[in-house]
């Protein structure tokens, strides 16, 4: 359940952006992992935008992306980045500052 130190968590919205390059295994794994984690832990409180840099290379500089895949948590602030295919759920949740439901 919610803890007293994060009273606003219920109201927060997770705006997430996932950068990938093409339909590689790594890309697909990252997309699947992210979708699953969000459904389980942030249902109704998230939005995911997947950006394929092979189609939009000019978008890499804006978020200072160099590694792929990279997940950017744009909201809530501050901005956080998680590199990799998001295969470790615990680490993704910690990185996103999402408390796993018990």
């Amino acid at each position: 359940m919610m803890t007293p130190t994060r009273p606003s968590e219920a109201a927060e919205h997770w705006s997430l952006r996932l950068y990938v390059a093409g339909q590689t295994d790594k890309s697909l794994r990252a997309i699947n992992n992210l979708t699953r984690i969000c459904k389980e832990h942030l249902e109704g409180r998230y939005s995911i935008e997947v950006i394929d840099l092979l189609e939009h290379p000019q978008l890499a500089a804006g978020d200072q992306i160099i590694a792929l895949p990279t997940l950017v948590r744009r909201l809530p602030e501050p901005i956080k980045k998680i590199l990799g295919d998001l295969s470790n759920q615990e680490r993704v949740l910690v990185g996103l500052d999402v408390r796993p439901r018990t």
Partner: protein, 475 residues
Amino acid sequence: MVEQLKKVPTGIAGLDELTGGGLPAGRPTLVCGGPGCGKTLLATTFLVRGAVDHSEPGLLVSFDERIPDMGVNVASLGFDLPDLEARGLLATDYVHIDRQEMHETGEYDLEALFIRLNLAVNRVGARRVVLDTIDTLFAGIPNQGIVRSELRRLFGWLKDHQLTTVITAERGEGSLTRHGIEEYVSDCVILLDHRVIEDLSTRRLRIVKYRGTSHGTNEYPFLIDEQGITVLPITSLGLRHGASNESMSTGLPQLDAMLSSKGYFKGSSTLLTGGPGTGKTTIAAHFADATCRNGERCIYFSFEESASQLVRNMRSAGVDLQPWIDKGLLRCQTSRPSLGGLEMHLALMVNAVRDFRPATVIIDPLSALLAIGVGSQTAFMALRLIDYLKSHGVTALYLSLQDSEEPTSLHISSIMDTWIVVRNMRSDTDLSRRLHIVKARGMAHSNQVRRMEITNSGVRLTDLPTAREAAEGLR
């Protein structure tokens, strides 16, 4: 037929001569050194000169500084990065990695960096790339193994795209670079160094490795001033100067007469030695005067007198240099030798020569300049200067404070084309001066010793009575 390694000029004076043409074309070169050693400046010069002088657009990828900050830093050298960017000659990308906001889980690679590079290279059709400084990747990306394998891939990618690249990296303790980048760059590695020797700040450059090219392995001094980077020597040491048959008047008809009626050969080096007060500077002033009278330019490097002292003293000896200074034909460059290291002085002199393009140069005196050299480099440096002037067809007159006719300790006399000696003769009743020519390569020259007088209309050389005449006179 083995294909010669193609090279790309850096536009850095001295470096291109040292490497026999520049950096390996289409390949990465590593430039390493500690903080403030000039890595970024060297890299930026390579890009700017490529864009401006060789129609090779460049890509500047900065991992450390924001592009506008870099632009400000090099603006003092006359490099206008925003203008080059506007003209499509330069693409820039500031790659910022904030470790604070970074987590990792699972597999990843640095493909986005490649995508950014590719985009920027294509934007301007870049032929040259700078990555400054690559170490930041190690600090920013948590998984060092990934950084290493991706760097290997990156260098391969740069080669595949035939991009001549300068990668800068921080110097490591006991190794060339902190992160062992030299493992990945097999073609060319340049080390820059900035240290203080005997209270003088000295910058040095060494080519650690250059595959397929013979290169100097010494440490070469370099200078950063308002004209950018200058590496000494400017020329490779060699004996391929064309010898000229033309000559320049010494400004003294009697001395010209002693030198096959001509004077100094154009592009030759002349050593003029003598003790204190023997009139060396006056002879040099005649030479400067003759050069300017001929409508050509002369630089007078003086290490003992200020320009105004020189002009005043020479005027009293009948040579007026002021009109030539006013006309812009004569430049007097004076400085105290102790104000900088030998390297710095030589670099400033070379820059002055490059800038002013004189026909003749006077160094007064060479001995004062050499006295400030540190260790065994001194003779070598002097040789480089002499060689530089010679290879640029500059007729040079080197004054040296020296009483005897012994070869100079630095063996400078052996590489001089002409050696003139002046000395004081003291009898019981008077002091008089003598001048003679010890050697003059490639010309018949007088073996006579002449009496030299400094009158209020300049130096006058007269014949001494021969031994027989003297004997007859006594009779």
